[in-house]
């Protein structure tokens, strides 16, 4: 099976992954590779800062279209700082819950109004 490495710094041209739009560029590349059934390695070498907004669009929204099992098998990360890994894991856990129950957000608003 073919494998593609996506360099985050080369994709967004910055050591800070901050904005959601920059994350979208990474997401588009992952999706392109997945559509060809290629495995993807996200390389975070030299990245100094990652916001959760960036990681949500880059990786989190994959859980909308792909199963947890597929992502586990086809996606991996390398050269990520430990704080980056902490943020990414939190983004992934949030995404799994979000797409499992899309109505939960609306329900949490309704709960406040019913109190």
């Amino acid at each position: 099976m073919e494998s593609s490495t996506i360099s985050i710094i080369n994709t967004i041209g910055d050591v800070y992954g901050v904005e959601a739009d920059e994350g979208q560029k990474v997401f588009d590349l992952i999706q392109k590779a997945f559509s060809k059934k290629h495995k993807v390695v996200l390389n975070f070498q030299n990245m100094e800062m990652l916001t959760t907004a960036f990681l949500n669009t880059a990786v989190g929204q994959l859980y909308k279209d792909y199963s947890e099992e597929f992502i586990k098998e086809f996606l991996s990360v390398s050269e990520m700082t430990n704080s980056g890994k902490v943020a990414l894991k939190r983004v992934v856990e949030t995404a799994k819950l979000y797409y499992k129950d899309p109505e939960a957000m609306q329900q949490s608003i309704n709960d406040i109004l019913e109190d």
Partner: protein
């Protein structure tokens, strides 16, 4: 635009643990990008100052956009008050984004403010919300600000170690 705010200035921040410094910069970026994504306005205003005698660094991020209440009520067709809207938004995993996950930035900030001993204040229209490790204070803001103000105060004499005891395994992320 965001990069101009802090890029290259990390070394200008006062002497403190690397972990705390990184967390502060990260928190400011998270709030800045939140304002950019959610305020529905083009301009975000910011200023900050280091107070060496008070061992604190303060930042303010302001927009004159839609505000918490209208943004959330438009999204969910609800009628939350400004206070209810802010209190909802600062909870973990609460987002108005459609189709994309979110709601982590403000929660991460709140957790860090608690550990750091700092303070966060949000004013949006007639809602006021303040959080520090001692208390949460939310009430009506009589001034009614047309947009959102986020005031952040961080302790620079923070000796907490923010690095984890154990590394997260690459195989344990997805």
């Amino acid at each position: 635009m965001i990069d101009e705010l802090i890029d290259g200035h990390i070394t200008d921040l006062p002497k403190m643990s690397i972990g705390a410094k990184e967390k502060i910069v990260e928190a400011i970026y998270e709030i800045f990008v939140n304002a950019q994504m959610h305020s529905e306005t083009k301009n975000i205003y910011t200023c900050g100052q280091f107070f060496p005698n008070k061992n604190s660094i303060e930042f303010t991020i302001v927009d004159t956009g839609i505000g918490f209440k209208e943004r959330i009520n438009n999204r969910f067709d609800s009628n939350l008050s400004s206070i209810q809207a802010i209190e909802w938004a600062v909870q973990d995993r609460k987002t108005t984004k459609v189709g994309v996950t979110g709601g982590i930035g403000l929660a991460v900030l709140r957790e860090f403010v608690e550990m750091n001993g700092g303070k966060m204040q949000i004013v949006s229209h007639d809602g006021f919300y303040q959080f520090d490790k001692e208390s949460v204070d939310s009430r009506i803001f009589n001034g009614n600000f047309p947009g959102t103000i986020v005031n952040l105060q961080f302790r620079t004499d923070d000796n907490n170690n923010y690095s984890l005891k154990s590394e997260i395994d690459y195989n344990d992320i997805f």
